[in-house]
């Protein structure tokens, strides 16, 4: 075991995967010599050479498109999109190509590829360094979408993603890179070294894709969250005293419907929290899953707490960010309803 930040654990995952399998290659903008703008690939080029870890042109359709071809060849590319906000030029290669190649070729070709990208706000990144596009991936059949919330999961999930035989979108909440963040932006930052989930094995291990985890057991309300919002939910539960069960989804597609359904059936209430915009956000899907699976268990209307349907505003970051106050208000409301 070692104490790791999420950056270190992500790097460790790629290092382990590259050691175990020569077919794993890493590339993207600034990821080679420099080691990435968030330093997640630091040292990989030095250790594995420039043929296995290299800089790419600033061209996301090229990064993803080339990775599709490499994966079809038999490599396992793990590419970095510098910010999730920049993925859109590569979106066609994800939505129309990578996701469908197994299906459309009748298993003749497959795309074992991982596309890593830092996601979410909280760092004053403005509109173009703060987006949470996970719902745009979850809408696509044939890819998996993973969003870790801590160093341990990040490593285990990333290794599992690299070893997975289908394409995986791996969204890294950048506000969590250096420590858990509960939305209290005026308080000192807690580093991962002071959190139990900063304990990460140095060797190979996996956390299975498609499995949620209950972060906090509770009896009164289920909070569905992922990424940064797991800590916001924890803070809100603590501050309101509501006995909330917090589920960290970890993978949003395939979704662990069984864990969600079991929890909501038990608590009878549900609050859904994400940082992405509200309309057609992944919360809408989660609400539908709860309604379809748990309607007769519900004692109150399900509530979503999300980013607003605006671009991420630079100066108003903390009014936009669904912090513990807004989540706490939702918890009180859902408790008052019945």
């Amino acid at each position: 075991m070692a104490r790791m930040t999420m950056i270190q654990s992500i790097r460790s995952a790629m290092e382990n995967a590259m050691e175990r399998d020569d077919n794993v290659v890493v590339f993207g903008e600034d990821v080679g010599f420099f080691g990435g703008v968030f330093r997640c690939t630091q040292g990989l080029q030095e250790k594995f050479g420039p043929q296995r870890c290299f800089d790419s042109p600033i061209n996301e359709s090229g990064i993803v498109g080339a990775a599709v071809g490499m994966a079809a060849y038999g490599l396992r590319p793990c590419v970095e999109i510098q910010f999730a906000d920049y993925v859109y030029p590569g979106y066609d290669q994800i939505a129309s190509e990578a996701s469908r190649i197994r299906y459309r070729s009748g298993n003749d070709f497959t795309v074992p590829m991982v596309v890593r990208m830092p996601t979410g706000g909280g760092i004053f990144g403005g509109q173009t360094h703060s987006q949470s596009p996970e719902a745009l991936f979850a809408h696509i059949s044939g890819i998996k979408t993973v969003i870790p919330s801590n160093p341990y999961d990040a490593k285990g999930l990333l290794i599992a993603s690299i070893e997975d035989d289908d394409p995986v979108m791996f969204l890294e909440p950048k506000r969590l890179y250096n420590g858990p963040f509960d939305g209290h932006h005026n308080r000192p930052v807690t580093p991962w070294s002071k959190h139990e989930l900063g304990d990460v094995p140095e060797g190979h291990f996996t956390v299975p894709l498609g499995k949620a985890v209950v972060r906090r057991e509770g009896a009164e309300v289920t909070i569905l969250a992922y990424g940064t919002m797991v800590y916001v939910a924890e803070a809100a539960a603590k501050e309101t005293g509501v006995d909330a069960e917090i589920i960290d989804l970890r993978t949003i597609l395939p979704l662990d419907m069984e864990t969600i359904e079991a929890s909501v059936a038990k608590t009878g209430r549900c609050v859904i929290v994400h940082e992405a915009t509200k309309t057609c956000g992944f919360g809408a899907e989660l609400m539908a899953v709860v309604m379809e699976g748990c309607f007769y268990h519900l004692q109150a209307p399900v509530i979503r707490v999300t980013g607003y349907d605006t671009p991420y505003p630079h100066a108003h970051e903390w009014e936009y960010f669904p912090g513990p106050k807004r989540v706490g208000d939702a918890l009180r409301k859902v408790m008052e309803a019945a």
Partner: protein
Amino acid sequence: MSPDKPKSGDKALSLYVPEPEFRPGDTPDFSDVPIPKAGAASRPEIDVEAGDIRDLAYTIIRVLNRNGEAVGPWAGLLSDDQLKVGLEDMLRVRAFDARMLMAQRQGKTSFYMQALGEEAIACAFQKALRPGDMNFPTYRQQGLLLSTDYPVVDMMNQIYSNAADPLMGRQLPIMYTSKENGFFTVSGNLATQFIQGVGWAMASAIKGDTKIAASWIGDGSTAESDFHSALVFASTYRAPVVLNIVNNQWAISTFQGIARGKAATFASRGLGFGIPALRVDGNDYLAVYAVSKWAVDRARAGHGPTLIEHVTYRVGGHSTSDDPSAYRPKEESSAWPLGDPIERLKNHLIAKGVWSQAQHVQARERIEIEIAEAQKLAEKNGTLHDGPHSTPASMFDDVYKEMPLHLRRQRQEAGV
């Protein structure tokens, strides 16, 4: 300064929108299209720098002259037997196309795309590759598969989406796949495969293998940003890839001038990337083979990518959903100066004294019978219209390697 008031003497700007020279009702006349003499283009060494062969991006490399003779430095690479195989490959594509076009008209399938007039390009290119190499084709490179031993019946099964369709009825007709025969799954989206081929070639280089890739794109879709992506990646990493542009003059109803303006050539787009760019007579089997072999050898020797523009003409409609008489003169294809690829190769073999009109008719009839028999076999497995098809339950398979819970539930709901 007010932006609203032009200075005296300023001329109002107007937008230039390119137009093709001929529209329905016009008499097409290509006499002003410069067609370089066969044999005139030089043949450089394969390790040449792009800048040293700039002229090859603007000319048209041709081997067969008007008398059916193979002339110049690009001639003499194929034996008579190999040329006869090439001729039969092209006849097979044409016969296959004619049959499948008819099958679509008869309602046996939803859609078809023929390669009429362009047969030489895919057929000759395939012969420059080795087993293990990979094409990333568009939807009009059926000749790549039909020049290998891939079963014709399976291509038809795919077109019919029948019970024996290797793709289980999931793909639009003609979107074949065959890893074994070096044919990457056709997307149907344009240009996406152009960069994928570059990635595949990069993978071969990363692994220290000797395989090369060939990417394919049409004149119209060179306008897509993935064309640029492919050229950037191919030149940056010197990927062992041949980048093929099939310039058949028409992108559905849009003439090639819309994709490139009326300046330069498609091939010349490679020069800014330092990629050697060659423009070849796509209706000249010998020229296509020679240029393709040059580029394939260059890639395999580690000298990096080549951009080839195959100049041809799309004689048929874009697809069975298209009516070209609405946007171009009916006579345009016969006025097109590069002729018919099958006629030209046939005339060459006859001029050499190794083929005759009678042999040609005999070969064509034999191939037409082979295709007709394959069609009968395929139709025993069903057609799109009448079935049988794969089981409906199979539509949930292969979305992922292992079916996740939500799909298992949906399959259950579907009751299939």
